[in-house]
Amino acid sequence: MGIEERDRYTGHMTTGHDWNGIKELNTKVPKAVWIFLFISFVFSVICWILWPAWPLGETYTRGILGTDQQKRVDQVVERAIEDRAIWTGRIMDMDYGEILSDQSLMQIARENGGRLFLDNCAACHGKKAEGGPGFPALKDTAWLWGGTPEIISESIRVGINSGHEDSRASEMLAFGRDQLLPRDEILTVIDYVQSLSPVSADQEPKQDRNAAGKALFLENCASCHGENAKGDVETGAPDLTDDFWIYGGTRAAIFATVWNGRKGHMPAWQGRLSDVDRKILTLFLLDLSGMDVDGRSNN
């Protein structure tokens, strides 16, 4: 045991311990420390009295506020729904045409639709709804399944190849892989298809093969895409004469599509988004592509 001594600098006594040269002062714990310890304890006791806190075997102390987070969340959510009912009610009750011409409601639809779109749709369709490889643009007027409000809303509800019981179903056969067409015939029909679209020709289509290509097209493709290749909204077959290509309009991309077939996927949003949210998204898309209730562009 060492000897207690006075530290010259602080004037406090040491404890007399010495560990490899380290000593300790026997300074009292400052009063402020006890006060703060007491305050923090009082704070805790108040919390324990107000809210559920201590377990008691099967149950726990409920706290005099008689609340818990689950009840509180339910209350807040309910109140928020009530607050919003002023305009959600109108959106649900009014038909698309009325809403589209109501500037105050459309303001709400734009505000909420923009956020809903970014949170739920943008991952595939792009931040500005411009689409991307495998996913169609939504800001133009070309719609696989039709562009009237009711059809868009239904597409959002049930999805495509989604597993929803009412899901839209669409599949393009793998003409090459499943040996429905030989390779040279596929190339011939691609020549024809490229000649139909204003932007797709990355190399000059061979006009002399158009007749053969057209014959192949009518035989193999027209049942879905139509004799004029304008597509069919009943089967979700895309228009091949416009300038938009979901999977790319280069010769190589079209070849991959015809060879391997396509089966796109869009999840069903019923159950994930409320009716009103899906209606808002529909309005947002109509507004974005500048369409009226008949799916015609105003731009």
Binding site: K23, V29, L37, S44, E111
Partner: protein, 554 residues
């Protein structure tokens, strides 16, 4: 190294390593999944490599009988070097993932380079690789000195260091190839966990054996903290990792807990890992190296006692604040919140005790970057414990939870407190252990200090900004009563802060590399000067403090 072991210890080392090699080989041969086979091979090769090391020294003459009278410091020296290697590796990975968050395409389309795999490499590498090795190395030094007792044998400390680093290696290599049990800071799978239990119990027993041999009547505060660290981490590790492997030949296992009990067990573990690994252990470090370097007595023995028991008691209850507003029952959250609030006081007692100890030595803080590392660490300890208690208050947590504020808070602790106290302790310890008057370059210590401090500040400030902006954007409503921002909009706002954070991290990493160079040069100049190795002998009489100046022993 092997020359220091007695002949019997060499035989025992050989046997243990053969056993490990056999287990590793068995895992590699019988393993039913590829990942398990890889880990079997790593265990086998690690043991095999070490067997060659043992054989190379096996036939050396037995060590001088006098050795038993000296402190045994070789394991500490090894531990410091290994800790610095882990530091640079894991800080590099950390900065990498920081850049990855700003530029997510940097994964090269490779699974191993995805954020989900690199992040645990960073956290495990820092907490267990860097922090753990630094704690083990310094604890070996401190417990011998403050007990005036030597290691009871030469083999146990090496078993701890070898075994612990094998665990770290299994953990980190596992993440790269896709092994994880998805529990934060407890990602390694069941066989690695069992291995760590064996090593940790060895460590605990070794520590107790040194204390049992002590010539001092009292046990010094630093040892209380180191003991709390070892004991509680053992309990946490065992309970949280209770799991059933799908077979003895698979890497995969399933936790014994499910649902909210699993979450609560995990965060009881997670928070107390912060408490007892990253706090108690490093307070042990602080309590030895700070007064030693300052040459001042601890300000208050009584505050040490109140602080220690407050910290160990309150921390145990605080884990549930990680699960505010979740499926966890409200009463558990209230308890977690209130104990977190009370925890602030003992935390500040410890920080205050450290800073008050510097009274009378502030001129040294000004002049000596090593001591300044420790001083700033104590300040950051105070700051981040305040922040932690604050964030544990439920309404505050409603804003801060799931945001970068949490990341900022963690790094205020990890960079500002844990890493700075470790660098301070290492800069104090390296010249003592390699018998040099000072580090190779005190200027470079100074450079490291400023790099580390500015890196920490850049990091923490950018994450505070980013976190609070994020939290506010997530809860802002527009006039129609719905959320104003989408998630991706908040991401766009984060981008500049993520870049700033990565730059801060880079500063910190460069500092650590400068530190490695400085340590290496110090060791090298010691090697070049040294003839016969010098040993330090416990003073078996009554230690006379007048003869021991700060920073020098024997």
């Amino acid at each position: 190294m092997v020359g220091q072991l007695t002949v019997n210890e060499r035989k025992l080392a050989f046997l243990i390593l053969i056993l490990i090699a056999v287990v590793g080989l068995a895992m590699a041969i019988t393993g039913a999944d590829k990942l398990f086979v890889v880990h079997g091979l790593i265990i086998f090769l690690s043991a095999l490599g070490t067997i060659f090391l043992v054989i190379s020294g096996y036939f050396l003459p037995p060590p001088d009988i006098e050795n038993a009278k000296h402190y045994y410091d070789d394991p500490t020296r090894a531990g410091i070097i290994i800790a610095m290697v882990w530091a640079v590796f894991a800080m590099f990975i950390g900065d990498w993932v920081a850049w990855l968050l700003a530029f997510p395409e940097m994964t090269f389309d490779a699974a191993w380079a995805s954020f989900g795999r690199l992040r645990p490499v960073h956290t495990t590498g820092i907490i267990f690789g860097f922090g753990g090795n630094a704690l083990i190395a310094t604890s070996f030094h401190v417990v011998q000195r403050t007990s005036r007792a030597r290691m009871p044998d030469n083999l146990s400390p090496w078993v701890v260091i070898f075994g612990y680093n094998l665990f770290c290696l299994l953990a980190v290599s596992g993440y790269f190839i896709g092994i994880t049990q998805s529990k934060e800071y407890a990602e390694p799978e069941w066989y690695a966990d069992i291995w760590l239990v064996i090593i940790w119990v060895t460590y605990f027993i070794l520590y107790l054996r040194v204390l049992a041999r002590r010539k001092e009547p009292h046990i010094y505060v630093a040892n209380w903290y180191y003991m709390a660290f070892i004991l509680v981490v053992a309990i946490l590790h065992i309970v949280n990792n209770l799991a059933i492997p799908i077979s003895l030949m698979h890497a995969k296992s399933y936790s014994a807990f499910s649902g909210v009990q699993d979450a609560m067990t995990q965060w009881w573990y997670g928070h107390n890992a912060v408490a007892f690994f990253l706090t108690a252990g490093f307070l042990g470090m602080l309590y030895y190296f700070l007064p030693k370097q300052a040459g001042r007595p601890i300000y208050s023995y009584r505050m040490s006692i109140v602080g220690f028991w407050g910290i160990t008691f309150f921390y145990m209850w605080a884990g549930s604040h990680h699960l505010h507003y979740t499926a966890l029952p409200t009463w558990v959250q209230t308890l977690g919140m209130t104990f977190s609030a009370m925890l602030l006081i003992p935390s500040w007692i410890a920080a205050g005790n450290a800073l008050m100890t510097l009274n009378g030595a502030w001129h040294k803080v000004r002049d000596d970057a090593t001591l300044r590392f420790m001083m700033v660490a104590a300040v950051f300890y105070g700051l981040s414990t305040f922040e932690g208690s604050f964030m544990a208050i439920r309404p505050v947590n409603a804003l801060s939870h799931y945001t970068d504020w949490t990341i900022g808070h963690v790094h205020a602790g990890a960079l500002g407190w844990v890493a700075l106290i470790t660098f301070g302790a290492i800069y104090a310890l390296v010249p003592w252990l390699w018998k040099q008057k000072r580090m190779y370059s005190p200027k470079l210590v100074e450079v490291h200090f400023w790099l580390a401090l500015s890196g920490t500040l850049i990091y923490v400030f950018s994450m505070w900004n980013s976190g609070i902006i994020q939290g506010l954007m997530w809860r802002t409503y527009n006039e129609s009563g719905t959320l104003a921002y989408s998630f991706v909009q908040s991401m766009v706002e984060m981008h500049p802060y993520y870049i700033a954070r990565a730059i801060g991290g880079l500063f910190f990493l460069i500092g650590a590399i400068v530190g490695c160079y400085n340590i290496w040069m110090t060791v090298r100049s010691a090697r070049m000067l040294a003839g016969a190795p010098e040993f330090e002998t416990p003073d078996l009489g009554i230690a006379s403090a007048q003869e021991i100046k700060a920073g020098e022993q024997a």
